[in-house]
Every structure is written in structure tokens, then in C-alpha cells.
């Protein structure tokens, strides 16, 4: 080992944390130091291993519900550990949820207008949350639009528009079928940095519309109609990111 350079410089470079002058210095150093070239390659490899291994663990639904309940109720001074909740309370919670879903479905048809939009948004945010549970995200996992598109054929009576926007920072992750308000819909899954975006697609006979957006439980959504399809994108990414994906999808 002959290189005298402080290792933190290499890591700073790897992480994009050096200022332009120091980054340029390091790049000049790389020309003459094969040791640092190998070390940098090794670190890049390590990083890609970590990122490819899907180590990120999302909050379980039970935690989200517990936090939501805490937010709704007056804040208490102690925590009830969620895993210790008696079974009947889970059952009660599940029954309440089911009742709410049934009521929502029976009483409020899938129509536009403020009320309809809010229930539709709830149903879609719920579907988004469900999809984040392990194993529920994609039925067809592929970053190739030519794999995802044919997968929908024969499963649906419409053809959802499938495009990959990897160059624009929204790589396609796959697709699945889901049920929203009793209707089978197509879902396209996109990634945005560490976050996931579900785009729900179903046919509509309504005319094209401008995007309508909102947020619920900390998730943002944007909904629009174009060429006989209604699309609703939902995610925890920023509303700006969602707006960008909307622009890409309507192009």
C-alpha cells in the first residue's frame, strides 16, 4: 500500500460530497494511482450490492395504523406495543375497516365531483398501502415495458399505456392487477429514488380532464383522464415529482 491519500477523500468523492476543485484533484490523482482506482471500483460495487439487495424495510401496515390512531386520538403518554394488542381488538379494527369500505362502496358510486373524488382517493390510497406490504407490489416484475405490456393482455378488457421513464428518473418496476371500487384496474409501478409510485389505470367514457390532486394520510395523489383512460398516481414522493410523472404520462 503506497497511496498516501486520506481514505475519506475517496469516500467523499464516491458520495458526491467533494467540492468541484477537490473532486477534480481526486480525478487527476486517479490517473496515476491504480490503487485508488481499484478501491473506488470496490466501493462502487459494494454500494450497488447494498442497493440491489432491497434491504430497505417499509413501515408495516400495523405500525401505520397505530400511528394514525394516535394522531386521531388525544396523545397519550404511553405506548401500547402493537404486537401485544389482543386479537379481538384487531378483529374489531378489521371489522370497522371492512364496514367502512362496504358503506363507501354501496353508498358512493364511482363518480367525479368532490365527494366521489375523496372516496376514490381513499380507495386508491388504501390500495397503495396494501401494495406496499411484502409480496403485494408487482404481479409482473420487469423494468422492460415490452414485458409488462403483453402481461396485461388477456387479463383486462383494455390496454393500459405502458412506458418506461428511466431516463427521466422514473424507472418502471412492473405491473399488477388490483381492484378499486369493485372494478379491476391495471397498476403500473414506478420508482422515484427510494420511493414507489403506483399508477392506477382504468377505462372511462368521460371526456379528458385536467389533473386534480390532493393528499391523504401523508400520501399525495394526482388524477386525470386522457383518451378514454382515467389515471391516478399515488405515492409518498413530493407533489412536484408526481406532477412530473403526470407530464411524462400525458405526453
Amino acid at each position: 500500500m503506497s497511496c498516501e491519500l486520506t481514505p475519506t477523500v475517496l469516500h467523499g468523492y464516491l458520495d458526491g460530497e467533494l467540492d468541484a476543485a477537490r473532486a477534480a484533484d481526486f480525478e487527476r490523482h486517479l490517473i496515476s494511482c491504480s490503487e485508488c482506482v481499484t478501491a473506488l471500483e470496490t466501493q462502487e460495487k459494494l454500494r450497488s450490492l447494498l442497493q440491489r439487495a432491497a434491504l430497505y424495510e417499509r413501515a408495516p401496515l400495523a405500525l401505520r395504523q397505530a400511528v394514525q390512531a394516535q394522531l386521531g386520538a388525544p396523545a397519550r403518554s404511553s405506548v401500547t406495543p402493537i404486537r401485544n394488542l389482543p386479537t379481538w381488538r384487531w378483529l374489531a379494527m378489521a371489522a370497522t375497516f371492512l364496514l367502512a369500505v362496504l358503506l363507501g362502496w354501496r353508498l358512493l358510486p364511482l363518480v367525479r365531483g368532490n365527494h366521489g373524488e375523496t372516496t376514490l382517493a381513499s380507495a386508491i390510497v388504501d390500495a397503495h398501502l396494501r401494495s406496499l406490504q411484502p409480496g403485494h407490489l408487482e404481479d409482473v416484475q420487469s423494468t422492460d415495458q415490452h414485458t409488462v405490456k403483453p402481461w396485461f393482455d388477456g387479463k383486462l378488457d383494455f390496454a393500459p399505456p405502458v412506458h418506461d421513464f428511466v431516463d427521466e428518473g422514473f424507472p418502471l418496476q412492473g405491473g399488477r392487477l388490483d381492484v378499486v371500487h369493485g372494478r379491476t384496474v391495471a397498476v403500473l409501478v414506478y420508482a422515484r429514488r427510494k420511493h414507489l409510485i403506483n399508477v392506477f389505470v382504468w377505462p372511462t367514457s368521460e371526456p379528458d380532464s385536467e389533473p386534480v390532486s390532493g393528499s391523504q394520510l401523508g400520501y399525495h395523489w394526482v388524477d386525470w383522464r386522457k383518451s378514454g383512460m382515467e389515471l391516478c398516481a399515488v405515492s409518498d414522493v413530493s407533489p412536484d415529482d408526481l406532477a412530473n410523472l403526470h407530464h411524462l404520462l400525458v405526453q
Binding site: T8, P60, G218
Partner: protein, 182 residues
Amino acid sequence: MDVLDSQDRARFEQLILPHLDAAFNLSRWLMRGRADAEDVAQEALLRALRFFRGFHGGDARAWLLQIVRNTCYTWLEKNGSLDLSTEFDEELHPQPSVSPETLAIAGDNRERLTRALEELPVRFREVLILRELEGCSYKEIAAITSVPIGTVMSALARARQRLHLVLTRSTAPHQQEAAHEL
């Protein structure tokens, strides 16, 4: 204690809840067990709710993750599983001469990577998780872990080297010994 009014709650829901995944992920990697991680993350969110009046804008994710981290450390300390004494004065060794290819084979397995990460001291694990999984900048990591940026940089360099050693040790013991002798 102050009870938040509905406006505060709406703000909390908008600013803090989108980072619930980040909170859980950090807690999961600091606590190791999933069940503990859920309890700790829930307690941290409750603390965040309680202290929310003291949050005056800025980086909501860093603010929440700082609370999560402190909550985790409190639990670890209570259970006697927090050991901070050893690692920071350790000298940073030069990179061992294991090729990127060897590393690729060694680390191409989620389970093995998970075990290797869990084997790291918590101070190293947290900077790696924040940097590689959460995508935090050095500045954000410094804010979350309450240490100077210089310390973040050296912790990260050491953490990566450690992880690298742990991974290659399990597949290439001879090479690793050789690396030590250099």
C-alpha cells in the same frame, strides 16, 4: 403536555407521516429485531407528536430520524446492548486487496448482506443505513447522529471497510488474512 390542535395534526400528517418508512427502516436496522423495531418506531412517532410544537420547519425527515435514533439508543441502553466504547479510536486500515469481483460474489445475497450489516457496531451501521438506504447527505447524517461532519466521514469510510471485510471474510478467508498482513 400540550395537546395538538387539528391544524397541528394536519401539519404533522403532511410533514412527518410521509417519513414513516424512513423511521421504520432506521429503527429496524438499529434494533435488529422487527418486533422491537415496530415498538420503537411507534414510540418515536409518539415522541415526535409530543415535540412537534418545537419543530419550526426545515428538514422534517432529519428531525424525525434524529428522534428515532435517540429512541433506539435509549432502548438499546436500557437492554444493555449498546456498546459505544470500542470502535471510534480504531485506526483506519488501508483497503485490503480484494478485487471488486470477489466482493461481488461475496455480497450477492440478501441474507448474507443483512447478517454482515447486523454484525457491524451500531455507530457504523447507522451511517451506512442513512447513507446507502436512506440517501442522506453527510450534513443530514451529522444532524441526525449529532456528530461533526468530519466524524461522519471517517465513520462512513470505516463502516464500508468493515462491511467489506466481513463480506469477504466469509468467502475468502485466505485472501483476507493476506490483506491483514500487508
